[in-house]
Subunit: 224 residues, 4 copies
């Protein structure tokens, strides 16, 4: 008996250690526009997520890869997902897109129709899920931080955020609802109804506080 | 005594009748876009205001004139105010403009910059007030009636409504806050978050209920 | 010898007849926007191509299928090509797209960036050619028929037409250069610089002469 | 005789000197957008016009004043003409406007409708001519210098240039046709179909050659 139990113990131990050694880090690709592109730079939210994982002693279990390109809309992601995402064989993809799909309507005349936004977004998710990649969606945060609902794109941004919430539910994806989180933060911390400077430098791109909020909210969902 | 009192009575009666005969009706010009243009047609809010005045026995005291033209923006009003308003020698001008200044950004690329909207609006008011004409301003009501704040132009329309509120305060004008009134009505009466059909036929142009609400709210301010 | 030659002859004859009987009609799908959608209706250019083939005694050799949907841009074609084109197993696909990619910039704020237009167009062609489908490209004809180069979208439409010419050369596709053909026709037949009514009813959608010109030019390339 | 001729001579001399002393310099205001604003800076076309007048010994006869503001459209000129032009009591006003009226359609959604462009332009001219001020109009030069007619705004810019030519004829104003002059120059000097760098730094704002061309063409009309 004694002999048997000991050998079982040794075998079990071996299996556990072996599993730990074999365990490869979870590879997370952050896929998005200029906000994500900046998030991969020093001081960006991706580095902050890395720091937080280190503090928790989880650094070795995650590999974080930035794949953001400025000006991208949902169909830019679609067009480059083979090269920039699938080729990297990720375990998790965090998609943060939508600001330019709305904003470029006014600034270039080349925004994305709501129904096409949904179609391309769904097409991306299906391709990722077909390879058993976990997908986490983020709603677009802000184009202007004013809290009296007078930012020019508020209505449209709410609409596209709602589309993303619906897609997340439909395809059983994780959701980081930045639209909601940024508004809540601003309602508390932007008493002067400023259009920038609270979580962003220019109404869109994140300052330090914005990057920290982004890192915190993403981490919640990533570690869930 | 008798003689005197009789002659006093006769003189008083003469003065009263004379005043009644001399009293000219208050001339009100409704100055705006297609919403006002439709408001002057059968079933429109201008006729409804007339009906309400008749019921109150005030019909003879008011003359109502429609001066709405479809597609108008604030600077269209400015360009045609001499011919279409001042030439009619109004006592009161009710200005209802702003939907196209916002909407035409997306539909033609020729919306009105917010600062220019304010400048032309102020220029119109100054010209009217210089002729001792009473000016009543209306905020734009809706482009889409959805109540979850996802109508594309919600943010921009809120912004232009706020500009009008500020101008009304600055120039001591009456204000009919349709943006507020329509939202309040929809929050109560549009539980299915429809984008049209509650107060409008198409999200913008008034149905019967919308015309009635417009008439009621304008009357409140006109009779104040 | 005689026997052999006779049996060879019989076999050859059998093969030829067999081939003729087996020869299935060439299936051509016309893939595009509202112009192609209308082209499939009575009096449209697809019917005119059919009539011309009948006159030439070639009717049985071709099967013509309309696959146009109003409002489509290049990425709409991309999104629906599996269902609406590949599922029909065509031998030839005639793509006529681009008007809305340009026009929707001004009318909805959702036109297509030039570089994305090229990428989606190329993606469509690659998918078709991968299945050995012959691809014929058409340049967008007109948004406005004025001949003094003052149609609002003239410059942009020229640009997108040029992109299509380049793609046709790069991917060895047939090309029907409607932009060129329509301008040449108008320079001869539109002395009053009208913006519609020569080849179109509204500057964009084809009248009878426009449909006939479209049919003639497509037939030239189809029978080449 | 002698006496008479001498007195005639004296009188004539007196008149000439008197005229010279009385002759005040012709005051020219250059009224426009960022192109004119830059034209008033060192190296700009206004300074070049001044240099040319100096070389011709005419410097004392002209006073040149820049009144350009970046981003201006025709109705910006209208709104600020009292303060920025009439208050300066000019003899001549050179108006160069139109690029932003076209360009802002795509970049902000706040371009100027063609009919409103014409109305505000005419309103400016009437106000200037009512004060006996000579008015010289300029057509917008370029948004992109490509010579194959594929600059996005080519058609629209041609249209607005044509409106200005018509207004110049209608109101008997001088005309500097930059649209024509810049195209002719580019057709000769831009063999590689570049979109900038020939007469402009960015397709719109003038480089040294562009400023020189502007100065030369304006001078022709000013000295006519």
């Amino acid at each position: 008996m004694k002999f048997i139990s000991r050998s079982v113990f040794v075998i079990c131990l071996f299996m556990i250690v072996s599993a730990m050694l074999n365990q490869k880090a979870k590879r997370i690709v952050f896929f998005g526009d200029s906000i994500t592109e900046a998030g991969a730079r020093p001081g960006g939210f991706i580095g902050m997520i890395g720091d937080a994982l280190t503090k928790k002693g989880l650094a070795s279990q995650y590999e974080l890869i930035g794949a953001g390109i400025g000006g991208n809309k949902v169909y830019d992601l679609y067009l480059r997902m083979d090269d920039d995402v699938l080729a990297k064989k990720p375990d998790v993809v965090v998609i943060w897109i939508g600001v330019n799909d709305v904003w470029h309507k006014a600034s270039f005349g080349t925004g994305t129709d709501a129904d096409k936004f949904e179609k391309f977004y769904a097409a991306i998710i299906k391709k990722l899920q077909a390879q058993n990649i976990q997908v986490i969606l983020c709603t677009p945060a802000t184009i202007g931080e004013k809290t009296d609902f007078t930012n020019q794109q508020d209505g449209d941004l709410n609409k596209y955020a709602q589309i993303i919430r619906n897609i997340a539910a439909q395809y059983h994806c994780g959701l980081v609802d930045f639209r909601k989180a940024f508004l809540e933060y601003n309602l508390k911390n932007n008493p002067d109804n400023k259009d920038r400077g609270i979580l962003t430098v220019d109404g869109v791109h994140l300052n330090e506080k914005g990057n920290q909020l982004a890192a915190d909210k993403m981490l919640e969902v990533l570690l869930k």
